[in-house]
Assembly symmetry: C2
Homo-oligomer: 250 residues x 2
């Protein structure tokens, strides 16, 4: 195990960049995770874990299989430098991004310009829970590998296929495979309870403020509307996604 | 209109306390809101608006009926002092908390020790959208009138009845009115799709980490389980609440 004591160390600076900048994550096709739960989920797909970093006073669980993964021990000062929050657990990992762009599977969630990192993470977690195999991030959707999104998704990044693709391109491919495309809209839409889910489907959900772009909405097979019974004008996009996905899978 | 220019002014200090401390909100039975959307929603229940505060360069919409409400004009410096975020719209209001503890209505959401202010706000918004009349905050649930909760709820604080009550006491009252009590649990629970919703019901949802307390769970009529189809261990509590409420109302 290699030991690093200084925050001036080049490797530490590289980790910090990976943790905090999309540019570095895009360049290296990797990302940086923090905390026991996330590292444990990552280790279930061990080939995706490139490095593990542990604060000197932290003991890793005996059951973790970390054979052949490069390990780094760091001081409290270095761990603090790497940590997103004040109360860090002192365990981190560098993981590989997948570069899968094959559209295989029955259920897809397509995200059009989702802006809030917490919403994105919650939606990835919800898609995983509902059994969706693939989440496609369209243009304008925030990076899936920033710290807030990773935290909100609670490890679901390692359970499903995440890819970035222009959504018009994705729709063309999915429709060629007889996947039914559902949008969400208040106009010209089927009520949530009246939908008869297809066997293979893709659900598009849109930006927090403006919804799905008109160009995409023009290409859906059917739009679904969640009824507003009270006086709220709309739902949070992650909550709406949960309600829709659990309607479509059941 | 009264004009205030100094952040040392006693009224400004009082507003700031109201915006940032539960203690002051409890004492005065009031709360502090920010932004055009929230103030507009508040004005739809005009009797709840005690004061409106406007930055000197901001024009209020002509359609707002603010007759008889005390108005304050403040400098940019004072507005910045009062604002939660850097990008404030420069409009604020002091509102009255309701002190309603009558349990009237058909649909209730009971919150057992919800800790995250954003989750709480999203749940209040979701309850409103689903047509729930009353949200009861049990012991250990964060204050509903902090800035993050108000922002996430998008004005739903003014649409539904919010009250704080010991949940065992609330359950006793609701059961005496033949309201069916639904809990959420993974053990001894009915699958989401197999629930036959009662006409009058109350749904309890629990703490982000530990769920509903065993004492409360022992008193429910039926517990509901949301199926986990993928590898996620659980759902975000606000998303789960949305899925459950939209199952129960439909």
């Amino acid at each position: 195990m290699k030991r690093i004591e200084s925050i001036q160390n080049a490797t530490v600076k590289q980790w910090k960049k990976l943790a905090t900048t999309k540019k570095e994550r895009d360049k290296s096709q990797a990302f940086f995770i923090e905390g026991f739960h996330l590292v444990e989920e990552a280790l279930k797909n061990k080939e995706r874990v490139l490095q593990i970093i542990v604060r000197e006073d932290v003991a890793l669980p005996m059951l973790w299989d970390t054979d052949d993964i490069p390990m780094f021990e760091v001081t409290a000062q270095v761990a603090k430098e790497l940590a997103e929050t004040e109360t860090t657990q002192g365990v981190f990992a560098v993981c590989k991004q997948e570069s899968n762009t094959n559209l295989q599977g029955k259920h897809y969630l397509l995200l059009d310009a989702i802006q809030d990192p917490g919403n994105l993470g919650t939606m990835i977690r919800t898609a995983d829970a509902a059994g969706v195999e693939t989440v496609i991030l369209g243009n304008g959707t925030v990076d899936a590998f920033n710290a807030k999104t990773l935290r909100a998704a609670q490890g679901s990044h390692f359970h499903i296929t995440l890819m970035r693709m222009d959504l018009e391109e994705a729709l063309a491919k999915l429709m060629a495979q007889d996947t039914v495309i559902y949008g969400t809209s208040l106009d010209d839409a089927t009520l949530l309870t009246d939908v008869s889910p297809a066997e293979k489907w893709a659900l598009i959900v849109g930006n927090e403020g403006s919804g799905i772009s008109p160009q995409l909405l023009a290409k859906t097979d059917e739009n679904i509307k969640i009824p507003m019974r009270g006086k709220a004008e709309s739902l949070n996009v992650a909550v709406a996604t949960g309600i829709l996905l659990y309607r479509l899978i059941l």
